[in-house]
Amino acid sequence: MNPQRFRLLLLQALVAVLLVGFWHVGSTVPFGGGYLLPKFFFSTPADVGLRVWKLFAEGTTQIVRCSDPIDPSRLLSTSDPCFGKTVWQHLLITLTEGMLAFIIGALAGVALGFWLARNRLLSAVFEPYIKMLNALPRVVLAPIFMLWLGLGIWSKVALGVTLVFFIVFFNVYQGVREVSGVILANARMLGMSERQLFAHVYWPSALSWMFSSLHTSVGFAIIGAVVGEYLGSAAGLGYLINQAEGTFDTTGVFAGMVILAVFVLVIDGLVTLVERRLLVWRPPAAVGQA
């Protein structure tokens, strides 16, 4: 590790120490007859840490103590005696919802983005409707999705899809539209048919735009899942937070937030790895832009 990187890590750690330190002092040291950060509203870092530990410990114990082998077909079932309602199941459910939302939203976005970008008339016809749907705050769709799809994972997937779809759609649309005219003319001169142009020019260009928005779209898929769970569900990280909030359990709310934050960080790290692999042809400065 070079000294510069070490210094950066040190400074980043310092920020965390200062924030947590302030939180700890504010919530445990009396200040002018009260607390700067009353426990009821802010909990304490130690309690939150302990709660996170307890959630994982209890969840793991429940699974380990269970004599029955885990039935993979019941992994997402909250009534499973071993796996049900453990923090592991909440994580797995949110992850499943997020991934399904991302896959379905990305596939639909790529397909429609391509189709409309290659068809001037269709794109002109649909333009106002797409703008309208995109301007709509997606949260208002959650109740409708719950009516249609129930309280299970699919209403959350649907909410995530509506978020992911537009990001991918706009990027693919842009990617196809903005293929350099010179590269296109050159490809034609090299003897490419329309199908070959698709495979060697339009597709890589659109994919590069899509992958440059990978962080955003994966992030939104998780947001869709958590918001959906929060509004009505029986499992998932959003449910965990919602349950804690319902009993004024601030510690539980913060614990859920910490788990969620770490979970998103891990996923973002994985996305960075995938992106590095896929966009190797891009000049370093261009990666992550647009």
Binding site: N186, M189, L190, H200, P204, W281
Partner: protein, 297 residues
């Protein structure tokens, strides 16, 4: 090869009858106009007649915005003439010119493919097995002095290296006609001369028909058998056709020191200068000009 006289007529007499007997490209009364927003039409190129022989290296020189690149795009089949016809190897052209390779002024290689894949693609899309296409691409890159850079992506190459990849990409398909649109324009002076020599060397092997557009008269004389001068636009037309009788093989930089080069340059430049001044005085003067250059001419 040393005793080979310059000029297409002489080459034609020496055989390779199938191609030499034929004209590579013929423009017949080709007229090109662009429609402007507002319904008006801008005449870019006036009715032009021009023939390029089967083994001839022809350079087209003219002031900026005279429509020489437009003419090249018509020969490539990327642009249809407003009236008139283009004949390629005797047959009337419609759609893309399949007999031609085109080297663009800007970078046209695909940034998402490595140098080798960029060169191989021309063969792959023609249905040649990938392994064979890649092996041939590697051989071409080695010929261009880029053997060690095959795995690099375009952004990891210099401008001159990218140009060579582009040239290999075009030549691997063995086109009978080579169209070049100020191909060395963005390069620095030294690299330009090196690329010029590389081009002459490659051309000497097969003597393809070459249509080379440039605004650099010295480059045109150093490389070509014939230099065509176009007038300033609008409605640009061919106003000069000069045979360059400098001996081949040539060295693109050394040939510039010969007395004959200077004579030719003097004669042609006196003609070109008037047009360059005309174009200079007209530049930015009319909205049509501005629209034209914005249209990527």
């Amino acid at each position: 090869m040393h005793d080979r006289p310059a000029g297409a007529a002489a080459v034609a007499r020496r055989g390779d009858a199938d191609l030499a007997a034929q004209e590579a490209v013929r423009f017949r009364r080709v007229m090109i106009a662009f429609s402007l927003p507002g319904g008006a039409s801008y005449p870019a190129v006036a009715a032009t007649d021009l023939a390029i022989g089967g083994h001839e290296f022809v350079a087209i020189v003219g002031p900026t915005g005279c429509g020489k690149s437009t003419l090249l795009n018509v020969a490539a089949g990327l642009l249809a003439p407003s009236s008139g016809e283009v004949y390629v190897l005797g047959a009337r052209l419609s759609g893309i010119n399949r007999a031609a390779g085109y080297l663009f002024q800007q970078d046209a290689v695909m940034p998402w493919k490595t140098a080798r894949d960029n060169v191989a693609i021309g063969l792959e899309v023609a249905g040649i097995a990938r392994a064979e296409a890649v092996a041939k691409a590697q051989a071409w890159l080695e010929r261009m002095g880029l053997g060690a850079f095959a795995e690099r992506y375009p952004h990891q190459l210099s401008g001159g290296q990218r140009k060579r990849v582009g040239l290999a990409q075009v030549l691997i398909r063995a086109p009978k006609i080579l169209l070049m649109d100020e191909p060395f324009g963005p390069l620095d002076a030294q690299t330009r001369q090196i690329m010029g020599n590389l081009l002459l060397e490659l051309w000497a092997f097969e003597r393809k028909a070459v249509l080379f557009v440039t605004h650099d008269l010295e480059e045109a004389i150093a490389l070509a058998d014939r230099v065509i001068i176009m007038s300033a636009g609008p409605a640009a037309r061919v106003i000069g056709d000069h045979t360059i009788d400098l001996a081949r093989p040539r060295d693109a930089s050394e040939v510039r020191l010969s007395p004959r080069f200077h004579e030719l340059h003097k004669v042609i430049w006196s003609q070109l200068r008037t047009e360059v001044l005309k174009a200079y005085n007209a530049s930015g003067a009319t909205s049509a000009d501005a629209a034209y250059s914005a249209g990527g001419a």
